[in-house]
Symmetry: C2
Subunit: 310 residues, 2 copies
């Protein structure tokens, strides 16, 4: 089955109107009237972002969800995507069938369509890239660099599950219910939270809590202090026989939102996040760097400030 | 030098206003008022689309130009791009410096800006993807599937140079002036031709004349007949000691436009392409498939209907 037959069979059925049946050189999109467009791109590489024998449907869904999380961090509404694949010639047709099935599932979940793309043969590793297009009311995109001294630091959901899920998949700890593994394979982008006018900065936690917080600090010219005990922990983590604090601080792939919120906006934040738990974990201060304070008030040192891909 | 330092040093200087200094999760773009957006993506992989020791600046420029050619085939005006890179950790900093220099050169040539992107480490091969965004007046995007029986087949420029340039780079023929090699490394996207209302179908020749013509035929439900002798040949090809007809028919990477034009629009076409040579090479007919007629009137058979990446 050659490149064109593969596209025709598995990907063309996923195309929206603007995708022109994936038969054209490009997609033609009428932007929603009076909106700004938000554009983001993320890749997933075999051996870097996923294991060779991972479920192709879950790879597809995570590829979309990583990008959808970037749109969530901008406060944008997703619209559609372009897909780029580089696949080894020997890859079984069933792999692509399952991959396309995963795309279809999450297209329905998130109300997005395939707009176009590019496919190529690869010499070795599978390489996948999605470009997501969303939209936002003019001037309402959430900033990354707007944190001010005194703003509180909040996170959605629970932190560290994905990194611990990866450890479980490597056999390093026991994931009794499968919750952690699922958090690693199928993140939940925090879309549809009406955060404009409430948060002064937002980022999604893809590289790890400390590293992504450091991005906001650098962009805003501030330091951050977080309370280790305040970092929200899932029930699955709470029942483990170790605290795994360092991994929860530095592990990536959670795709929760990290938010800077003026103290007087705390109620508004909790109102906006009615269906998503939000937790205050610290405060922005003048200075630079990320400080972590333990329960006893001692400062913690980290051996690594970020997450390295496996 | 880590991923963030690389981005800051080499890519952030290329970012336009909508790119938010490449520090945000996504780009925010105000679409040009009253225009449709045209979106396309193309990748270039080490060992598939370029050789490992190719000049990084030329790889960068070809990456942009392949995508710009897709916009040209849609009649779109380019605006900006997202860039995705996967680079081996051992890649010298000088490679990325030269690559960024190539991007900067063609950003100036084509009036485009970097809007955002993603970078990752790669296990082995370099992988590069660009998503280009352009715009077009509503309803004026050039169709791929609108050819009608009786439309003539036209091409811009000369055909086969890039494939012969690749042969020259492999030592299989002598490229006396370097013209063919240059055509292979640095294609010229045929932007800014006012073809709306003149052509009934357009495609850029990336996979090879016969294969891309076959795309139009399938999309339009037609056959095509082309005259082998009519296919325009550069002076550099004319002085070779072989005709290389099959390679010129099937070789890719020329990035010339292949157009379906009603006979009565021939003058309008030539007026629209005042600075770009255009040549009539055949006609669309009822039926299916691509027929090639030699000077003696005999039908030619091809051993391959398309171009395979090296």
């Amino acid at each position: 089955m050659d490149e064109f037959a593969r596209i025709e069979k598995f990907l063309a059925p996923l195309a929206g109107e603007a995708g022109l049946g994936l038969k054209d050189d490009a997609a033609v999109l009428s932007p929603p009237a009076g909106r700004q467009l938000v554009l983001t791109v993320d890749q997933m590489l075999e051996g870097v972002h996923f294991f060779t024998d991972d479920n192709p449907a879950l790879i597809a869904r995570k590829l979309l969800r990583r990008n959808l999380s970037d749109l969530a961090a901008m406060g944008a509404v997703p619209l559609g995507y372009l897909l780029t694949t580089a696949l080894p010639a020997a890859l079984p047709e069933a792999w692509l069938a399952a991959f396309a099935q995963g795309l279809e599932t999450d297209q329905r979940v998130f109300g997005i369509v395939l707009l176009g793309g590019d496919s190529s043969s690869a010499r070795a590793d599978i390489s996948l890239t999605a470009t997501l297009i969303g939209h936002v009311a003019p001037g309402q995109a959430l900033p990354r660099h707007g944190a001010r001294a005194g703003d509180h630091i909040w996170v959605t959901g629970t932190i560290g599950d994905a990194a611990l899920g990866l450890e479980a998949r490597r056999g390093k700890l026991r994931d009794r219910t499968g919750f952690l593994t699922n958090r690693s394979l199928l993140p939940e982008p925090r879309l549809n939270l009406p955060l404009a006018g409430i948060v002064s900065a937002a980022i999604d936690i893809s590289d790890g809590l400390v590293q992504d917080l450091a991005h906001i600090c650098r962009g805003s010219g501030l330091a951050a202090e977080i309370q280790a005990n305040a970092i929200p922990k899932s029930a699955a983590v709470a029942e483990l026989d170790d605290d795994y604090l360092e991994l929860r601080l530095t592990g990536g792939d959670d795709y929760e939102l990290l938010l800077a919120v003026p103290p007087e906006k705390a109620d508004a934040l909790q109102g906006a996040c009615a269906d998503v738990p939000v937790t205050r974990i610290g405060v922005f201060q003048p200075g630079e760097g990320v400080n972590i304070v333990s329960g006893s008030g001692a400062k913690l040192a980290l051996s690594s400030s970020g997450w390295k891909h496996f």
